[in-house]
């Protein structure tokens, strides 16, 4: 494999790509200045949008759960001071649910592989993940879910239930996007994917494209 550098898609563009393929992402606007009316429902999330920043949370570039217009204006000002050269993404906050992680990486032996994991800190704490080679079938997706501990939410656990059919659909959709070769995808991190009884929503998306030039 060549040593070509990868380029990171802006989160907004990554989510637009996903949305174009029928994947649910939060409603959002991107702007350098806060418009008078965003049309978004509170609570919202404010994120710095800059392709030079890969880990936004680590540099204080993400503010979650902003409950009102006043609070948003205050946070927007603070964000502009911190990252004066950037644009900013305001997103509706995904409703609470069970967190999963879905990803794509290129494996040395098997090419594109897809991962499903229990989300949040549990991904790394319990290394509760399952891998398959792309493309996957719907029974592959079902078996991936059955291999991780969070499978129990499919039938309800401690009052939380997940629509696992939509999780299967999302896995298949990601597999199809990668397999289609429409985009030179190098890797994908959907983290977190928030799942509830109503369906699944991709709250954060990082897509790296192979630099084809």
């Amino acid at each position: 494999m060549s040593e070509a550098k990868q380029v990171s898609m802006l989160e907004k563009d990554a989510k637009e790509l996903l949305s174009k393929h029928g994947i649910t992402v939060p409603r959002s606007i991107m702007s350098r200045d806060l418009p008078d009316s965003s049309g978004l429902h509170f609570p919202v999330v404010l994120k710095v949008s800059d392709d030079s920043i890969l880990h936004k949370t680590d540099v204080g570039g993400v503010v979650l759960n902003i409950g009102s217009r006043e609070a948003l204006e205050k946070e927007f000002k603070a964000m502009k001071l911190k990252f004066p050269q950037s644009a900013y993404l305001v997103e509706e906050m995904a409703p609470p649910g069970v967190e999963f992680i879905i990803g794509i990486i290129k494996d040395r032996d098997f090419g594109n592989v897809i991962m499903l994991g229990s989300g949040g800190i549990f991904t790394e704490l319990y290394e509760d993940v399952s891998f398959r080679k792309v493309p996957i079938s719907s029974s592959d997706a079902t078996e991936m879910i059955s291999e991780i501990a969070s499978r129990r939410f499919c039938h309800g656990f401690r009052g939380k239930k997940v629509n696992c059919d939509s999780l299967v659909e999302l896995l298949l959709n990601i597999s199809r996007i990668v397999e289609s070769n429409l985009y030179p995808i190098y890797s994908i991190d959907l983290n977190p994917v928030i799942a509830s009884e109503k369906g699944v929503i991709v709250a954060d998306a990082k897509i790296l494209l192979a630099n084809t030039i």
């Binding site: 890969l54 992680i101 990803g103 794509i104 990486i105 494996d107 040395r108 032996d109 098997f110 090419g111 592989v113 991962m115 994991g117 991904t123 790394e124 290394e127 993940v129 399952s130 891998f131 398959r132 080679k133 996957i136 079938s137 029974s139 592959d140 078996e143 991936m144 291999e147 890797s187 994908i188 991190d189 983290n191 990082k206 790296l208």
Partner: protein, 412 residues
């Protein structure tokens, strides 16, 4: 030895099917060149000192590829003990018989990247008389590799399952396709080393941080329904069960024993989830239990696990197994042939053989003297049998998992 010798392969008047080159690396390449001119079909290059040793060795190995490109000659090795095919009597391993035994004819095809481990494993399995359909040590695989060996076993009539020991994969995409296809016809078991985490992946990605080679490999094996072994004992244990028994129609297992402790331990291991999955304990109907009662002492257990107690005999085994074979609630049977009580002897093999014609049977025999004799007799009858509870249970789990994969994905 009164064998006719020639100064070079090219001076042999007849056609040559196979050349085994036992010269050191540099001279081996010269002998290969002569073999190619002689149009020898297969050449086994035994010597090490090729790509595993550094740049000079890598160049020599490249010379092997260059020499055979576009010719009819195919190479096994270098750095290999070669092949063993008991059905034709071909054995190229240069190990003396007073050191290691070689297995006889069997149904398990064995391919190994390591020569020494392959030889040692083959020596070990002769203890209970297990045979193989063939052994191929692919070595450095300058030409023929694991996919070629797998596809040979795919079409070999004597082979019913394939086991492979690998340290690396030469072509993941082709390997995936071959495994998927072959495993549906002949179950495949893989033992792959190098399980420790690879640390070179970009930490930029959460997925990348989780994606050790081992996890990806494990996921890919599940995707194609290939059984994974974690050591050399499992590799041949699983190859045997998958070669000798058809996969069960479900995961409900009946256990029959003459020792209560063995039954309870089997239940614990069978119903707990581990790397090889889990099975369920079959529930018998009241009619079935009443029928079984007729053949056992009043205090024996006819609920699963069935405990015939010290009174258990070959006849009782036969009667109970007959009920289990007919039961719609039983998919597979674990039968223990334990030598501690007076009525169990080598005759036990006969009712197990009869039962195995109708339903998958895995047997266990614990102990040293009579137990080993029983295990050898069961091997002759091609009933997969193991000298411990954990090995018996693991073999049954693997058989159930393969059956489940085929039910789910068999039509893909």
């Amino acid at each position: 030895m009164r064998l006719k010798c020639y100064p070079s392969v090219e001076e042999i008047p007849s056609e040559v099917d196979l050349a085994v080159i036992t010269l050191p690396a540099k001279q081996a390449v010269v002998a290969l060149e002569q073999s190619v001119r002689k149009k020898v079909h297969f050449v086994i290059i035994v010597a090490g000192g090729f790509s595993e040793t550094g740049d000079e060795g890598k160049n020599l190995e490249q010379m092997i590829r260059d020499l055979i490109r576009g010719t009819e000659t195919r190479v096994i090795g270098p750095n290999t003990v070669g092949v063993l095919f008991p059905y034709t009597g071909l054995n190229t391993a240069l190990t003396p018989n007073d050191r290691l035994f070689f297995p006889g004819r069997g149904e398990v095809g064995f391919l190994s990247q390591s020569g020494a481990l392959g030889l040692l494993v083959m020596d070990s399995i002769t203890e209970y008389g297990m045979g193989i359909s063939g052994f191929i040590n692919i070595g450095n695989r300058a030409d023929l590799g694991e996919i070629d060996a797998l596809e040979l076993f795919e079409v070999d009539q004597n082979t019913k399952s394939v086991v492979m020991y690998l340290e690396s994969i030469s072509d993941g995409e082709s390997f995936f396709k071959s495994l998927k296809r072959v495993n549906r016809k002949k179950p495949v078991v893989v033992l792959k080393t190098g399980r420790s985490r690879e640390s070179t992946r970009a930490a930029a990605s959460h997925t990348g941080a989780m994606a050790s080679n081992d996890r990806v490999f494990g996921g890919v094996l599940k995707q194609v329904g290939v059984t994974r072994a974690f050591d050399e004992t499992e590799l041949l244990d699983f190859g045997r069960v998958l070669a000798y028994q058809k996969p069960p129609a479900g995961k409900r297992v009946a256990v029959i024993t003459t020792a209560g402790g063995v039954g309870v331990l089997t239940t614990d291991l069978l119903t707990s989830t581990d790397a090889h999955g889990r099975c369920e304990m079959a529930n018998f109907s009241e009619e079935e239990e009443a029928e079984m009662r007729k053949f056992v002492l009043p205090f024996a257990s006819v609920a699963n696990p069935i405990d015939l107690t010290a009174d258990g005999s070959t006849e009782a085994y036969g009667s109970i197994l007959d009920i289990l074979v007919r039961s719609p609630y039983v998919d597979a049977i674990i039968a223990y042939a334990l030598p501690q009580t007076p009525k169990i002897n080598l005759d036990i093999v006969s009712p197990l053989t009869v039962a195995a014609r109708s339903k998958p049977v895995v047997a266990g025999a614990i102990g040293n003297r009579l137990s080993k004799d029983i295990l050898r007799e069961l091997e002759v009858a091609r009933i997969p049998a193991y000298p411990s509870v954990s090995r018996t249970v693991a073999a049954m789990k693997v058989l159930c998992e393969y059956g489940e994969y085929m039910r789910r994905h068999g039509n893909e």
